[in-house]
């Protein structure tokens, strides 16, 4: 269990792109022998891949028109204050 906490922290650093060379080596060498951490890494990669692969949604047709139709009444271009 002591290993899990340390390597879990390293894994998050790795995923945040904040791991240094030494830590990276430490993490990946460890995963070659530790089944738990290797599985953890694999599951994480898979989950993130699934989340990232689902990122194609567009606003419905007519969205802009709907917004513009709900805007408060248009201000007059020529100011009456002057």
């Amino acid at each position: 269990m002591a290993c899990e906490k340390k390597y879990e922290t390293l894994l998050h650093k790795y995923l945040d792109g904040e791991i240094d060379k030494e830590e990276r080596m430490d993490l990946f060498l460890h995963m070659e022998t530790c089944e738990n951490c290797a599985r953890h890494y694999k599951e994480m990669k898979k989950a993130l891949m699934l989340v990232q692969s689902s990122s194609h949604i567009e606003a419905p047709v007519g969205f802009t028109e709907d917004v513009v139709n709900r805007l408060p009444e248009k201000k007059k271009r020529t100011s009456w204050k002057k």
């Binding site: 989950a47 802009t64 513009v68 408060p72």
Partner: protein, 188 residues
Amino acid sequence: MDAVVKRLIKEVKKAGDQDAFAELVDLYKDKVYQIAYRMTGNSYEAQDMAQEAFLRAYANLESYDENRKFSTWLFRITTNLCIDRLRKKKPDYSLDAEVKGTEGLTGYSQVAASEKLPEDQVVTLELQEWVQTEISFLPPKYRSAVVLRYIEDLSIGEISDILDLPENTVKTHIHRGREALRKRLGNA
């Protein structure tokens, strides 16, 4: 910032120019809608939240600081609206997650239909529906951080500006959010 965006904002600020605002909406509608959809988990509420975000942006444009990125300001309005909405319906948001997922199907089907073969499409839809359902199980504060990081592909710094949270807090929310997603999505 993008010169076009800057010019459009100036025109809206100066004369309330609705045509210029329409151009701004066109530029950002997909991202704003996507955030709202991922946050609320259904297309009806997403449309409601995304429209409201633009209406508020229009009404409050005077308070937008032009030295900062427009998208950061706009996304902040969007996430705040969605988080408020989720908090108001907190007691039932996980209970109706399945229903939300089903509604999401319409949103996905419009997008996927154009390019994929029918049999691939079914798999993709089921998969995407499932992923969205699992995202909907995340508590709102983790959900917003994960959506901005992994779906909008923004940096920790930008997310920290949008959510008005320190970078370390954002990181913690992302860590917890992705651990939760790993447990739900990672071993299937």
